[in-house]
Symmetry: C2
Subunit: 346 residues, 2 copies
């Protein structure tokens, strides 16, 4: 509070240079913690900077260097609770490195996503796409200009962070099998969903391995309502347990079953996916397979920074195999909606 501010306009390195009696380039070096500045000069500059409460302009810095100090994150739907932890993971990893996170939304549309990505790309050092709706070629095209990392999808030639769903699904099947269930249903996600296909594949395998049968059941939408509507077909399938593509489907299914007089979990077990916010609000609380979304977000950011260093100029992060980072395993969270089968449903 010693005089400070030029009321309104921010101080520039020129103001500091004048006050400290040095050249602007020296100010730049001193403040950039570059080597080759004498201790006295650095002190002089820092004092002047503090006195003028100087704050570097990230924009002005970005222009000559190309380093914006900003990374973009594009999600399909900001209010989808599955993304919360991902956003948070990326956001805090960014903040920890003094980077700024730009959050954008594609509204579940591939074309919007593409437009948004192109718009924010110039002012970022790279972009993270969470469960992208864009086509593989579009993503690769984007990756030519600046590094791209995708979460929850595998794209040839692009850095990819995908949680390993197998452990969680295997544990779920074991858990259900151990509790007397033999016929399983899978409430599927959207038909084109890469993730839904992966989850079903993995579930089917795990069931086969356990000597159980699994039947896929389509849904109208991955929502509460979609889960409700599927309840009839689930019962008709004579399954006594269902794994659902996501928690909303699971909750919808559970409520409709209960409304139809089916006791959960005594007569039917329900397992969701993603362990979203609120999955413990239900009665009974929902058993769910949790993905390490927060870690996915943080890891994606880390990979982005890594590939930012490596290949400059040429396409970034070139590698043919998607990454499957070992600590990012899914986990089964057993709660109240799954358990021993008491009365066979026939």
């Amino acid at each position: 509070m010693v005089g400070s501010d030029t009321a309104g306009g921010r101080a520039t390195i020129y103001d500091i240079a004048k006050l400290a009696g040095v050249n602007p380039s020296t100010v730049s070096r001193a403040l950039g913690h570059q080597p080759g500045v004498s201790v006295e000069t650095r002190k002089l500059v820092e004092d002047a900077a503090a006195q003028l409460s100087f704050r570097v302009s990230p924009l002005a810095r970005a222009l000559p260097t190309g380093r914006t100090g900003t990374v973009g994150l594009i999600v399909a739907d900001i209010t989808n609770p599955s993304y919360f932890d991902m956003i948070r993971g990326a956001q805090s990893a960014a903040a920890a490195r003094g980077l700024t996170l730009v959050l954008a939304e594609s509204s579940e549309s591939g074309s919007t996503e593409s437009v948004v990505a192109q718009r924010i790309q110039p002012s970022t050092d790279g972009i993270i796409l969470a469960s992208p709706r864009m086509s593989d070629p579009e993503i690769r095209e984007l990756n030519k200009a600046k590094p791209v990392v995708v979460i929850n999808r595998s794209v040839e030639g692009i850095e990819s962070v995908v949680p390993d769903i197998e452990p969680g699904i295997r544990d779920a099947v074991r858990h259900l099998a151990a509790n007397g269930h033999t016929r399983f249903a899978f409430l599927a996600g959207p038909g084109q969903s890469w993730i839904s296909a992966r989850r079903w594949d993995s579930f089917r395998e795990a069931c086969e391995w356990a000597g159980r049968t699994a039947q896929p059941i389509p849904t109208l939408a991955p929502t509460l309502e979609g889960g409700r509507r599927a309840a009839g077909e689930v019962l008709a399938s004579r399954a006594t347990a269902a794994l659902c593509y996501n928690d909303l489907l699971a909750i919808g299914l559970m409520r409709e079953l209960q409304a139809a007089g089916v006791k959960v979990p005594d007569e039917f077990s329900v397992v969701g996916f993603d362990n979203i916010f609120g999955s413990d609000f239900t009665t009974p609380t929902l058993t769910s397979i949790a993905s390490p979304f927060k870690e996915c977000g943080a890891t994606a950011l880390q990979r982005l920074l890594a590939s930012r260093q490596g290949t400059e100029g040429s396409p970034h992060g070139v590698r043919s195999t998607p990454l499957r980072v070992s600590p990012m395993r899914t986990t089964l969270i057993v709660r109240g909606s799954s358990g021993r089968l008491l009365a066979p449903s026939t």
Copy 2:
């Protein structure tokens, strides 16, 4: 796909100028949709731009103009569901105007908030603070450099967007009174919370007006656990209905009451606040007072842009009274957790 790209480096207006055979300044004007460019020239420039798949650099544009095309939004906690709609409202309002939204988090800390705000301010056209933790003077200081709008708080001299809680609270009191309740409890939020104090004030007034008694009950934290812990005191107060500072408290309270054998809503009615995601996952579903958070986010953005225009140079958006935008009323969402009192709790 006609030749395009200089493989790697983006095209600049100089490339366009060369290709179109005009001066870069003309390119700038043509692409900026400025008046005073002949139709032919404009066409020429646009074709060249398309051919080079030109995309203007927002950074380079921001430097001479000061217009960054970016607005900042700082929330205390990204994963707090109360903010989801606010974020979404601001995000879509920004996107609709071709603006980019930078999302940052303060981790509930006033000092972090201040640091973050200062860091992102230079690369924004202004900042929205949602339920800020900073002090009033700090916020005013920030507002000197670029416009600031606060949501959910009133700060002298700062544009402020606060939902009108009165309608929702009044309706809740009426609803409960009409259902035979006479003694009410209020589960309070954090002691320093501006919002909690407002909600309690309004609730007390509404109760007085309806000739009912209201008793405030402190909580340890605005969480499920905080709600659970308060259940004993609520019962001891001999209230038969509670309004809670937020939905998490309400859900925690409801579950603990149910665990203690109290029937909801037959013996006790619970009303939450904010109508968060998942408040309809509970059994019974939660009655809650919904705030128009999405509109708050959108309105805040709108105000920010408005004050960006007005007073340039001098402190922005100077007005002594906080805004209370009329359409932003709270609404009571009646669900299953509130209703007619059947068996008085004594």
